[in-house]
């Protein structure tokens, strides 16, 4: 089944964290929520897994027993061992005795097998993330939700975590994740761009790139008076009307450009 939210609004007391967010996360695919800090990614994910009640809108998700969740914390018990985490998760999800059969390969794939008896508090940051993911994957969820599961994880471990996510999606799960890394977002089948609690755009990376208004230019030096950002040693420039500037040549739009332009355009609309 697919999961998703429609016209979602999340409030914490009087503070409105998210409003008007709608997307569908299909099975067998990775859907990524992208946006800067405070964009509302975590609030959307919390509403999706049922950790917070929406103030308005609807949430559709499988029952709790079919949802795996890795929170930013990442929500593991520092004074339990790796093996005890899996045992508790298995019991909480009512997996019965065959959980051991699943846990073995999962520990191998996450590289946690040698650390089975180690306390979670003694694991490195990356290994803790892997443990949280292993716990989320153990019940073979229909919906797998990850909140910045790869933040602070070294590049090699990130690649391993992504391999696990891809496997889960290939196995039929709808994977929804929040990330600030746009190279990760590029691997997702669909993206939801959030900014200040609002949904700016949604679609596949190709769709988002195609829908970018104006043109992206590249310059050696920072052009004055226009919206520009660095990419490597060069400057990227957004030209809303598509007009080329002196010293800046038109280049193909990348996903990163598309997301930055969506944010800039929203800021422009707010200012207007």
């Amino acid at each position: 089944m697919s999961a998703g939210v429609s016209d979602l609004e999340v409030r914490y007391g009087r503070h409105r964290a998210v409003a008007g967010v709608s997307f569908r996360a299909p099975a067998r695919a990775v859907t990524a929520l992208v946006g800067g800090d405070g964009a509302g990614k975590t609030s959307v994910l919390r509403a999706l897994v049922g950790a917070v009640r929406p103030a308005a809108g609807t949430v559709s998700a499988p029952e709790a027993g079919r949802v795996g969740y890795v929170s930013t914390g990442p929500g593991i018990w520092l004074d339990l061992t790796v093996g005890e985490h899996l045992q508790f998760t298995a019991a909480a999800y009512g997996l019965g005795h065959d959980w051991r059969g699943r846990a073995g390969p999962l520990l191998e794939r996450t590289g946690l097998a040698p650390a089975r008896d180690r306390l979670a508090g003694r694991l490195s940051g990356g290994m803790r993330q892997k443990l949280a993911l292993a716990c989320a994957l153990l019940p073979e969820p229909e919906l797998l939700v990850l909140d910045e599961a790869t933040t602070g994880v070294d590049p090699l471990s990130r690649a391993e975590l992504w391999r696990l996510l891809a496997q889960a999606a290939a196995g039929g799960a709808a994977v929804v994740l929040a990330t600030t890394y746009l190279d990760e977002a590029e691997r997702a089948a669909a993206l939801v761009v959030l900014d200040r609690g609002r949904q700016l755009a949604a679609g596949s990376p190709e769709q988002l790139v195609a829908a970018t208004p104006g043109a992206i230019l590249e310059a050696r030096d920072r052009p004055g008076g226009v919206r520009a950002w660095r990419l490597g040693r060069r400057w990227r420039v957004w030209s809303p009307d598509g007009v080329e500037l002196p010293g800046a040549a038109r280049v193909p739009t990348r996903l990163e450009d598309a997301i930055i332009v969506a944010t800039l355009a929203a800021a422009g609309r707010r200012a207007a």
Partner: protein, 389 residues
């Protein structure tokens, strides 16, 4: 250094609860405890029995507040009345020599009674007594201290200390255990897992209950062996009172954890509930010696009722029937506090409370979406979870 001081003041100001605890609480505590801190019992509840009861009742020193005169009762009835806590002193006016029975389990009332009797005896042997007519009052009464004949402090303190240990384990340790879960962010993980909220609450509290119960068994045994504390009453009654009392203290612990953001706040709050219990429950200062303005607080404290039962059952061997009031109060406090605690804790672990259909956006499906329609409203309860406020 000023930068550091300014930063610290700013942080302190943000933690309003801490400021309140630091400034308001000491003042309140000083005032309350100042009025409560008194060992002087000025009124001793006294029962007079025996055929001469009517005569004797009027001649007792002022400190004996005679509230019951039963000429038809005998010494055995008086002993039972003391055992069941109906009076602190009983005067048996039978035969030539009256007998004064003193409840040794109420240490300070007993000491006041003995002092008053000694003083009366001293003045009776003086000239004013010699002028008295031919009556029984010239005969010095026999004095019997029951239950705790040597008036040992440990005998009455140990049952109360059992309660204090349970308060510490129940309130402080429990609140820390739950707050730790909140601070680590694992409470949210529990909320999302397919666990029933009541199972989360019960599963969280049960280990502390078990540890506290084991703790209690240990300290009761140690108290009996090391301090010669008697155990004269019903074990079942004591166990019942202890279980009810634990329910209250664990409930207070959970309640504190639901209003605390971190372990520091939890410890401070727990301490603020423990301190009044230690000082106002009758453990140290007798409740009847407290100023009336603060005495009522004692009647809100679960430890007071636990101590009533513990001293009654252990030291006096009080019949269960005479302990129904403290047992009932413990049950009432236990049910109230624990229900409140569970409701508040439930709120933390069960934000998703209603089921129903959820309609997904069809107008802008995401690319690559092999979309299946979302559950429609009116599908009725099913495995899916939708939320519609």
């Amino acid at each position: 250094m000023w930068a550091m001081t300014l930063k610290e003041f700013r942080q302190l100001r943000r933690d309003r609860r801490m400021v309140a605890l630091m400034i308001v609480m000491p003042l309140v505590l000083l005032i309350v405890f100042g009025y409560a801190a008194s060992f002087d019992v000025t009124e001793i509840r006294t029962l007079v029995v025996g055929e001469g009861a009517g005569t004797i009742a009027g001649r007792l020193p002022e400190v004996f507040a005679v509230d019951q005169v039963r000429p038809g009762d005998d010494r055995a009835d008086a002993e039972r009345a003391l055992r069941d806590g109906e009076a602190q002193v009983a005067v048996v006016a039978e035969g030539r020599q009256p007998a004064v029975l003193v409840d040794g389990a109420q240490l300070f009332a007993a000491k006041s009674a003995l002092a008053a009797l000694a003083q009366a005896r001293g003045s009776a042997s003086g000239p004013s007594a010699a002028a008295g007519g031919p009556g029984t009052e010239a005969v010095a009464p026999s004095i019997d201290v029951l239950f705790n004949p040597d008036l040992k402090t440990s005998v009455i303190m140990v049952p109360g200390l059992i309660g204090i240990v349970l308060v510490f384990v129940g309130t402080i340790v429990t609140s820390l255990g739950v707050v730790k879960e909140r601070q680590a962010g694992t409470l949210e993980q529990l909320a999302v897992m397919p666990l029933r909220p009541r199972d989360v609450v019960a599963g969280k509290v049960l280990p502390y209950f078990a540890v506290a119960a084991l703790d209690m068994t240990l300290i009761v045994t140690a108290g009996l062996l090391l301090f010669d504390v008697p155990f004269r009453g019903s074990v079942a009654t004591f166990v019942l009172a202890a279980a009810l009392f634990l329910l209250v203290t664990l409930g207070v612990g959970v309640l504190i954890s639901t209003v605390s953001e971190n372990q520091g706040q939890a410890v401070m709050l727990a301490f603020m509930t423990v301190l009044p219990q230690i000082l106002l429950s009758g453990l140290i200062f007798p409740v009847e010696a407290m100023a009336a303005g603060v005495r009522w607080i004692a009647y809100l404290l679960p430890l007071k009722y636990f101590i009533d039962v513990a001293r009654g059952v252990l030291v006096r061997g009080t019949a269960t029937g005479a302990l129904l009031l403290p047992l009932g109060m413990l049950a009432l406090l236990g049910v109230t506090v624990f229900t409140l605690a569970v409701l508040r804790f439930r709120h933390d672990v069960a934000p998703r409370t209603h089921r129903g259909g959820g309609e997904l956006p069809d107008e802008r499906p995401l690319a690559g979406a092999a979309a299946t329609p979302g559950r429609q409203p009116g599908d009725g309860p099913g495995p899916g979870r939708g939320t519609t406020p």
